[in-house]
Subunit: 366 residues, 3 copies
């Protein structure tokens, strides 16, 4: 592995190594306080995200390293009309490793094309957020010992929740995982994930009620219904707060249930659940910091690589996704990967369209 755009960039072998390192750090953090001494993390947050930002910064500092960067776009050179490509090239001249959060889908993938140092995707719009899944898996493995043979309930926004999609994908690597997908029709799991689970022989049940399934679960993963993801605010208002886990609803739950949440929560978990020993969502945050320490330590050992800056693509292709980074950074080389539905953008994974070439398209090279 060099960059972490998606968790699929790790082989299971590499993931196991990473988890082993994470466990060692949790068991004796004092052994790693100088592990990244002299290394600099470039932390580029094009949209605010206290949690992820603090988690990465703290992780680097607990390794003895330093952090530079910005936490909002206004204090970035983009204001002067600089391309992402140039910003990344510049920062990779200063830093030994880069973490980026960006509102455009595929931004981290784009950054990795030009960076001389490893790039970690800390969230690219509603697309990917691999270190959240790393956090979730670390929590499950650390507290359950294994992710095999478990019944996991996932509740809330299964349609837009990127952490949910990513978790389901990753759990395909484990044996006999059964899913209870708890959501209203409007927020049901996307069709492509149903196909994915069927192809991988993963058992899943789609239900709309939370309470009935709780007693069966080994893990209950609650999610926030995010205003940011809704085009229509009324739809959001009609759906927010439809699920609220309370102490009362946990009466018949298993004694060793793990109640997880990526945080921040709004009202999907009542505060009277917080003191229940099965509520591990705050521990989850700490495990996430340790997992990021392991990731930073591993990636920061890689040598600097000079990258070609001008990459030929297929200018007659165009991504159909208005939020795709290629719409904003028009010089990006268009490439695709084939899927059943057709060719998909390598950046945001949405379908592409062909267009007749015109002179002005050539300008994209400039």
């Amino acid at each position: 592995m060099r960059h972490i755009n998606d968790l699929s960039d790790l082989t299971m072998e590499e993931f196991r190594e990473l988890y082993k390192l994470t466990s060692n750090i949790i068991d004796r953090p004092e052994g790693y306080t100088e592990a990244c001494r002299g290394k600099v993390l470039g932390s580029l947050f094009y949209e605010p995200s206290t949690r992820t930002n603090l988690s990465f910064s703290t992780a680097m500092m607990r390794l003895g390293g330093s952090v530079v960067g910005f936490s909002n776009p206004n204090s970035s050179s983009t204001a002067k009309g600089e391309t992402l490509k140039d910003t990344i090239t510049m920062v990779s001249n200063y830093a030994d490793i880069i973490v980026m959060r960006n509102p455009n889908e595929g931004a981290a993938k784009a950054a990795s094309l030009f960076s001389e140092v490893p790039v970690i995707n800390a969230g690219d719009g509603g697309h990917l957020h691999p270190t959240q899944t790393l956090t979730d898996m670390t929590t499950i493995l650390r507290l359950r010992g294994s992710a095999d043979n478990m019944k996991i309930g996932i509740c809330g926004d299964l349609k837009y929740g990127r952490t949910v999609h990513s978790l389901i994908h990753f759990l395909a690597n484990y044996e006999n995982v059964q899913f209870y997908l708890i959501a209203p029709r409007e927020l049901a799991i996307p069709e492509y994930l149903r196909q994915f689970m069927n192809e991988h022989k993963m058992k899943f049940y789609e239900v709309s009620g939370l309470e009935p399934v709780i007693p069966m679960l080994d893990v209950l993963y609650m999610t926030r219904i995010q205003r940011e993801r809704f085009a229509d605010i009324d739809v959001y208002e009609s759906l927010r707060g439809i699920y609220c886990l309370t102490a009362a609803k946990l009466r018949d739950a298993k004694k060793d249930l793990l109640i997880m949440h990526p945080l921040p929560r709004v009202d999907e978990i009542a505060q009277d659940v917080d003191d229940d020993p099965r509520a591990v969502y705050f521990d989850q945050a700490r495990f996430g910091m340790y997992a990021r320490m392991a990731l930073l330590l591993t990636l920061s050992k890689q040598p600097r690589i000079h990258m070609p800056k001008n990459i030929p693509g297929r200018p007659n292709l165009r991504c159909t996704n208005p939020k795709c980074i290629t719409r904003k950074e028009t010089y990006l080389p268009m490439e695709t990967h084939r899927t059943r539905e057709g060719e998909r953008c390598i950046y945001c994974d949405q379908l592409v369209e062909y267009r007749r070439m015109r002179k002005f398209n050539m300008d994209y090279e400039y």
Copy 2:
């Protein structure tokens, strides 16, 4: 001591220990450059405050520690509707000690209920700002040797000036301190402080003129009339600039007078005073940094403590103060301390009112 919400959280014994440590750091800072190596300070500034923010950050760095956090609310998770309780629980998972500035009164007290690590109040609205008083006392003790037997003039906004109130409270611990309270009627000292001084047999004189009293003083503490504290801007405009200390007015002042100011100043001290050896307000800022080093070093040695997250309060109580943190964070357990005037909110110290319980009040628990 565990948290520092108010300076009253310290016993005089603890304060003397702290001052002794501060003095040692001032005398040989090089002995402390690794004292907090590996420790992380969580710096949560919900409103900008360069001075306090830089002072704490520099203090931590001069101890060899690191700093993470934010310096304005926009880059915080609160934007996503997260409660203070959850933000603090998260940050206390990452950091070894927390410093918080918040516009709501009682915010730091609220934070200390949930934090697994020590919380230092760096200002909660117009309520408390203990490290400013620590700065003031360090300056007086360091430059005068003692705070006993002194005549101190306090000039400017005695009504809203929280640093003034806090300083008066703390000086009750010393012998024979005489106060000259210099303010226009509109900004006179609050009645409860008059009572406090009478109860503690502290001599004080209220005057409206600055010049006449200057010759008598051992310490002159000037304050800024803060626009932020005024509801009516006209009242502010009519009062700003009524006091302006100039070199000329110091002609008959004592040779060993200490001229202090919490800073920033606007025009209450003319610049021709700056080079007077008795003007110590800039040294005061440096002493403040050393006092914060001592505080951080002392608190950071405490073990992490798991705190219950769901605390039963008295839902039939309500704070009458619209700026109280309990108005914004409605899940906070209401409790009071008794005073002559009645029961006061444990967060912001304002009076509380009783209300008839209705179903929706129960929601406060959720």
Copy 3:
């Protein structure tokens, strides 16, 4: 040298020492990772500038030092009406060295009057930006071995481009440098620089076309036409993009040409140039970081000096430049240096005017 307001604050002797140190750091950075351990850089950015900000912060951290400060004015005490003088006095109480970017011309010079620690000018409006020139010279010397006997083309905004003016000034220290000044009439080099070059017997040719001169050049320095510098946006629109260096235009260029740019670029250099080995503008950014390391290391060794805070000036003088720091910070002592055209402001180098003294002018002292 104590402060770096302009590169002219360095003697050639000092500059050679600095370049020697820079070279040593480039050759073996591992030898300097603890060189500034325990030192604190105060980084005061009154306007955003990712590049310069990151470069200085990274430089300090790679020396083992720490950084405190702010990257935008909103999180600064100036919001509370504090003078630059007080802010600098405060920060110089906390930090061992100060770097400042400020939109007002002469701001760094003003800061250096009051700071107890060295101040580095990281850009004061359109006036000076010495560490950019340091970056440019380091790049030329490192890649060419010498700046003597070279033909350098400077293209784009020669009227407002402060980095261009500064570079021309500094190259007066070298033998047989020939300039090709490539700009449209509206952005031609200022008259005073023509005089400067004539006085110093520096050969220069003013042309409007880029392509014809390329084959002659040893160095081609491209610049961005900056929107910020134009009062009239239409003029900006008519001029932006008139020069665009492409791979095609480099066909007849020398094999060892150096293509430089201060960055960020917009469209003055096409992306198909980026992979040309002669394109060194991204390496330039890295050299800049190393030059700043050398500068920080050198300056941070100086002892703290107490500065008088109240400096008498000539209140009957007034700078004619509306962007001059003396217009905003009216207490600043006015002084001038004589030039052929008349007396110039020591802060922004613009002409001054005499005025009849009135009572209210005296207020400037307060």
